[in-house]
């Protein structure tokens, strides 16, 4: 009997070309489990509740080539650096960590390295925790990533270590029509702190697909700020998943800034599993042309006395489509939770679309929670008012857009990054 190959089969067959035979057993086992999980998992369709507004045909109807080995191609990364920012730079090129393009300043108690190397060295933490919170069996893109990630960045902070400089991961695709699976894992030990930026960019990279998974483990009283900048030009596809686990008194902040991308899906899952935690999840998305930008977030409050703040702001131009689905669970034990969630959108054209669904599920009775969603247009009256003072229409729009998204950027603590984002917004909307 001849079985017709499904899209999943074709993609798997393709990814099977990757050779992981030299990896230690724990990694091979992990990949094998992921492969098994894939037998049960199917690509979501519009009938899948969590994917109702996002069709992934563009991603899975293609045949990608696979880069199976690290290349030595030279590349100037200067275009991807953030001006005035002194950072440790880690470069992932087409899915591979490029030591030669990276520059990491040694700091006692702080490790920033290739994940592949850490696996090869059978690093204890990696051995015990890789795949620990981003579970292959839970989701098809996590499974695909676990089965076939080629490399990624491993950041490890010892007790009481505060990263002197931010870590800037430049995750770049330079070839057309390839698929890259990258994996980041961050361990913040007790009382440690680190700031991370990850830029997803491409040079060429037409019709390429990036599937990234990041796992964040926050020990008691640690602080992690993760800034994700998505700016892939041209026809590009990206699914990225962050899985976060917070222990007592930890503080996790994620800022998701989507400036461009044909099809972008962000899955953010935060498990707040101890008291005294603070969680900030903010985002801005600027859709243009036929961009489709989807943010799905889940905050799961399991224990009492925690705060979470979520502000996502979208500006959708041309024929772009935005999706926001934010879910906050407050479990029975999680008394005295403060959970605040907000999604605001501006549609710049009649053809732009937003699907916004803020959700709150509360099982505890002594909590403060709020959520809300708004969609509107720029206020013409306000634009005229500004024009009547001598400000060009374009500047007036820019002023109003900057004002609109300001509070979604307030938890970025890296000043040069803030300026960089401002300059990108200026480029887009300003004179």
């Amino acid at each position: 009997m001849i079985k017709e190959l499904t899209k999943k089969d074709i993609l798997l067959e393709n990814l099977n070309q990757l050779d992981f035979s030299s990896e230690p057993h724990f990694a091979k086992d992990l990949r094998a489990e992921a492969k098994n999980a894939l037998d049960q998992l199917e690509f979501p369709t519009s009938k899948t509740e969590n994917w109702k507004y996002t069709r992934i045909g563009k991603i899975i109807n293609k045949t990608y080539s696979i880069q199976s080995k690290i290349s030595t191609s030279q590349l100037s990364i200067s275009n991807y650096l953030i001006p005035e920012l002194d950072a440790n730079i880690a470069v992932l090129l087409n899915g591979f960590y490029r030591e030669d393009l990276s520059s990491i300043e040694k700091q006692e108690g702080l490790k920033i390295s290739s994940l592949k190397n850490a696996i090869a060295q059978e690093n204890g933490f990696i051995k015990n925790h890789l795949g620990g919170i981003a579970k292959a069996e839970s989701e098809i893109f996590i499974a695909l990533n676990t089965m076939s990630f080629t490399d990624g960045v491993y950041i490890d902070l010892d007790k009481n270590i505060v990263g002197k400089k931010p870590v800037h991961i430049i995750n770049i695709i330079t070839d057309n029509n390839i698929v890259a699976n990258t994996r980041t894992i961050v361990k913040a030990h007790d009382n440690s702190a680190v700031k991370i930026i990850e830029s997803f960019v491409n040079l060429q990279g037409e019709e390429s697909f990036t599937n990234s998974v990041s796992e964040f483990f926050l020990n008691p009283n640690s602080q992690v700020e993760y800034n994700k900048i998505q700016n892939k030009e041209g026809e590009s596809y990206q699914v990225s998943t962050e899985q976060v686990y917070q222990r007592k008194d930890s503080n996790f902040t994620i800022n998701t800034i989507t400036l461009d991308g044909t099809l972008v899906r962000n899955n953010l899952n935060i498990e707040v599993n101890a008291e005294g935690c603070e969680t900030n999840l903010n985002g801005i998305y600027l859709g243009k042309n036929k961009n489709h930008i989807d943010n799905h977030t889940v905050v799961n409050h399991l224990k009492p006395n925690c705060n979470s703040n979520e502000v996502y702001k979208g500006i959708l131009d041309d024929n772009s489509v935005g999706v926001f689905n934010g879910k906050v669970f407050v479990r029975p034990d999680a008394q005295k939770t403060n959970a605040f969630q907000q999604n605001n959108n501006i549609l710049l054209t009649d053809d732009a679309v937003i699907n916004s669904k803020p959700e709150l599920e509360i099982y505890a009775d002594d909590v403060k929670c709020s959520h809300g969603s708004t969609t509107g247009q720029l206020d013409d009256e306000a634009i005229f008012y500004l024009q009547a003072r001598g400000i060009s229409k374009r500047s007036a729009v820019n002023l109003m857009i900057s004002a609109f998204i300001k509070d979604a950027l307030s938890s970025i603590s890296i000043e040069p990054l803030k300026n960089y984002i401002d300059s990108k917004i200026d480029e887009r909307f300003g004179s």
Binding site: F384, Q387, A388, G390, I391, S395, L399, A403
Partner: protein, 250 residues
Amino acid sequence: MLSIKNLHAKIDDKEILKGINLEIKAGEVHAIMGPNGSGKSTLSAVLAGREEYEVTEGTVNFLEKDLLDMNPEDRAREGVFLAFQYPIEIPGVSNINFLKTAINETRAYHGKETITAKDFLALVKEKSALVELDAKLASRSVNEGFSGGEKKRNEIFQMAMLEPKLSILDETDSGLDIDALRIVAKGVNTLKSSENATIVITHYQRLLDYIVPDFVHVLYNGRIVKTGGKELALELEEKGYDWIKEEINN
């Protein structure tokens, strides 16, 4: 300075201005009065360049240039200032930032360099004192959470900052208590010079006790039907508009 000839304008096919003629010279203050619906606010909107109004006939020359041919920002940069009847609240946009942008875009339009931070701050300090606007208000979001009086004072503050050649005050007195009215009027009078001109659009004679006009025009049914000196305003206050309507209709 401003020469309006046979100006007709409509909105949604409804003709509102039906042939306005008005000449304004530098150094003059003109009051435009008239009953509700006579076209007062339409006139100010057309001069400032609101797109909803369509000019169907006539010309407006401002300092020898065709005003109607310019977009709203260029009119402002050329020196036309409209103090809004209902100033708009713009959350998140700081009063100071937006004024700095306005001043710098106007300077760039005239080929001048941007204002230095120091000069700008000095200007803010000087001009906010003029209308007794709290420095804190100056740095807040545009009109957000301002009281009615504060909004109107903020309009005059902006006018002081931008130093226009022609100021149009659209019912600036409406809703003002007597103290706020005095402050607003003091601001306008201080800014008055032989180089600039003011159009005061109002319903009530009260404001004209403080800002004394050289000419008073009565607008009725889209036309200026009567022009006189400041005593005309007093007459209107005393007798209302009915006698004018009768005069016209007969």
